[in-house]
């Protein structure tokens, strides 16, 4: 996994609540058996005016000029500013895969859906939860000044570059450690194999029907 330490980039505002993972990556693109290549279809139904199909050439498709990621002023964005309950619905990890493939490495919102939030950390994406007022202020600043950039410092857990000064945020210590170091958590868990085996021995006595074979 790609480590996340510091990130500076243009902020793109996606000003709607309850953005679901069907919206982030529609189901027809879930038929891929790979982890990569979802970026061109990120927000497909919002981004293009026609119906997207798997394996089609996206370069000639009609773009929706009103959609934020199609606007020149947000070109090259890597920080997405969003509203409440971002990433709700389906557990599809294709959603963070699509964001990452597009180049988004950080999403800032007042709240996230649990499964999506968890999936982000497995893919080097940092989801930051801030207070409603803080998010409102960032939306205002993003709309007001073209090319508005922020710097995310995960080590220090602080966002720099906002008019009102630095904004502190907080990430669970284990997740932060894994993200800062780009750690594969399967490897970490396997270091605890003895504890897993000890648990299994105990459970075999207590609940033998769960160890039938």
């Amino acid at each position: 996994m790609q480590a996340f330490t510091q990130l500076t980039g243009v902020v793109a505002p996606l000003d709607r609540a309850n953005v679901d993972t069907d919206m982030i990556i529609p189901k027809q693109f879930l038929k891929s058996i790979k982890r990569s290549g979802f970026g061109p279809n990120l927000f497909d139904e919002l981004r293009y005016l026609d119906e997207g199909k798997p394996d089609m050439d996206n370069s000639g498709r009609p773009l929706n000029p009103e959609f934020v990621l199609n606007q020149a002023r947000y070109a090259g964005t890597n920080i997405l500013l969003a509203r409440d309950n971002f990433g709700c619905g389906s557990s599809r990890e294709h959603a963070p895969w699509a964001l990452e493939d597009f180049g988004i490495r950080c999403v800032i919102a007042p709240s996230f859906a649990d499964i999506f939030y968890n999936n982000c950390f497995k893919n080097g994406i940092l989801p930051i939860t801030l207070l409603d007022d803080q998010v409102d202020a960032l939306f205002e600043e993003t709309f007001a000044s073209e090319g508005f950039e922020l710097t995310i410092d995960l080590q220090a857990e602080v966002i720099r570059g906002a008019k009102g000064g630095d904004i502190a945020f907080s990430i669970d210590a284990f997740r932060r450690h894994c993200l800062l170091n780009g750690l594969d958590d399967i490897g970490l868990t396997l270091e605890q194999s003895d504890a897993i085996r000890a648990y299994e021995s105990k459970r075999k006595q207590q609940t033998p029907w769960l160890f039938a074979e």
Binding site: N18, D20, D22, L30, N85, E93, I115, E200
Partner: protein, 473 residues
């Protein structure tokens, strides 16, 4: 010892180790696999040269992509016309064969939607931890299990280690007292709950559903309710074990037998919240006040009783919410203040992991029996949740009732719930659907989904628009 909730008990029983930083290693008893969220996990195992930790805890079946017409199904995997869907189904077969994982392949009579197959086979049991790369895994909480959806990286993690790194959720109790009225079903109850708490109301919580309504409810009904916990934001939904649970599990193929059964039943008796257990949040509803529900918008929380009117954004004080209502009305092609019963329908879909079990099909058949679907409908279809549900329904003659009414009788799979196979809505079409999500484009590009119970969907199929099913039974 401090009083515990059902969630606390399940959590504590599966805690392998708690780290100093508060993260926990939780043991997983059952993983269900399907073709959409597993290929990258198997690929990860291969690349790292890892083997599954415990083969016998995994059970797979293809469901999301499989075609549901008998024409395609009789030929087998080679009969899948969509080449991309076919690759996913073939890949699941190859991965399960390679690693030695039990799979109910497409032609197996036990194949079906993972969340129908698991309980039906006794492969998901009370007291288990159950995961699947699918957010509707909460379904299995109906059995008194700790069940939730996970992403593909975690599917790989469970395959490789039999564990997940987790943080404990908070406890929420949703109590529904009283008795449901005639024609009001589990689906209406869970939609009413989501309408009450909102689509993010359960975020960060594990929900336990309790109260007389759930005590009286069948296992199928409890599964419908737990299935949609995620639509209220909660990854986990569950119901305490009682005699209804035990009776349901007994005799199923993967359920314990003999001495093991007696041991299991004795252990399961503790799978309820202690009387004085404390919840972080409690929501109480009166079951007798719940009417048949219909969603009008593009989020499951946008739901109202069938006799209500579509909301008017000008009555909403919160700007973000008002904008959400306006956007939903525009997408759905509805006018503010119009009657829900005036919404004309193009298609009706009865199926999905929410409502494709035998009881659901009986409810729908009872409404359409001796009636015909409206001539204005383009299509009405019933997609049973598994091959065994299909067999049971046919043994009861339900297939004939549907066919005589003008409803298509299909092969099992997820089908039009998420339209990954050929069953989908056309642009702008309205659908009465027994599925779980009314998101934009969910059932097809530009499709307009209204979530309802099987009985309400059947009634709507006959009328061609929404009607109160209570007037028809």
């Amino acid at each position: 010892m401090a009083a515990k909730t059902l969630y606390d008990k399940l959590w504590d029983a599966h805690l392998v180790r708690q780290q100093e930083d508060g993260s926990c290693l939780i043991y997983i008893d059952r993983q269900l696999l399907h073709e959409v969220t597993s290929p990258q996990a198997f690929e990860g195992l291969r690349i790292a040269g890892r083997q599954p930790w415990r083969l016998d805890t995994n059970l797979a079946t293809p469901d999301h992509n499989v075609p549901t017409t008998s024409k395609e199904r009789t030929v087998g995997v080679d009969g899948i016309e969509d080449p991309v869907s076919k690759i996913q189904v073939v890949t699941l077969d190859e991965n399960c064969d390679h690693f030695g994982i039990t799979e109910f392949k497409m032609q197996d009579e036990r194949q079906g939607i993972v969340h129908v197959v698991g309980p039906e086979q006794g492969a998901t049991l009370p007291g288990m931890t159950v995961v699947c790369g699918d957010s509707h895994t909460a379904t299995h909480g109906a059995l008194g299990a700790l069940a939730h959806g996970i992403g593909t990286s975690e599917v790989e993690h469970v395959l490789a280690t039999q564990c997940l790194i987790q943080k404990k959720s908070k406890n929420m109790l949703v109590r529904v007292d009283g008795e449901l009225g005639k024609g009001v079903t589990a689906k209406d109850v869970v939609l009413a709950i989501i309408g009450e708490i909102g689509t993010a109301g359960g975020t960060g919580y594990a929900i336990e559903f309790a109260g007389k309504v759930f005590e009286d409810m069948s296992m199928e009904g409890r599964m419908t309710v737990c299935n949609m916990a995620i639509e209220g934001g909660a990854r986990v939904g569950m119901v305490a074990v009682d005699q209804t649970t035990i009776d349901y599990v007994k005799g199923r193929p993967y359920a314990p037998t003999g001495e093991q059964w007696d041991l299991a039943v004795a252990a399961w008796a503790d799978l309820h919240s202690d009387a004085d257990a404390e919840f972080d949040h409690v929501v109480v509803l009166d079951g007798s006040q719940i009417a048949p529900q219909v969603t009008w918008g593009t989020s499951p929380e946008m739901v109202l009783p069938v006799f209500a009117q579509v909301p008017n954004p000008s009555n909403e004080k919160d700007d973000v919410k008002a904008a959400g209502i306006s956007r939903a009305l525009e997408y759905m092609g509805l006018d503010a203040d119009q009657n829900i019963t005036d919404i004309q329908l193009d298609r009706v879909f009865i199926g999905s992991c929410t409502n494709s079990r035998i009881e659901d099909l009986r409810d729908a058949a009872a409404v359409v029996k001796g009636r015909k679907v409206a001539s204005t409908l383009k299509q009405a279809l019933v997609v049973p949740g598994s091959g065994l549900v299909k067999q049971q329904a046919e043994a009861e003659g339900l297939d004939k009732i549907f066919i005589e009414a003008g409803i298509e009788w299909r092969e099992p799979g997820c089908s039009m719930c998420l339209a990954m196979n050929a069953d989908k809505l056309g642009n702008g079409e309205h659908c009465a659907s027994t599925s779980n999500r009314n998101f934009e484009g969910r059932q097809g590009f530009g499709g307009r989904t209204h979530l309802v119970s099987p009985a309400m969907a059947a009634a709507a199929a006959v009328a061609g628009h929404f009607v109160d099913v209570r007037d028809m039974i």
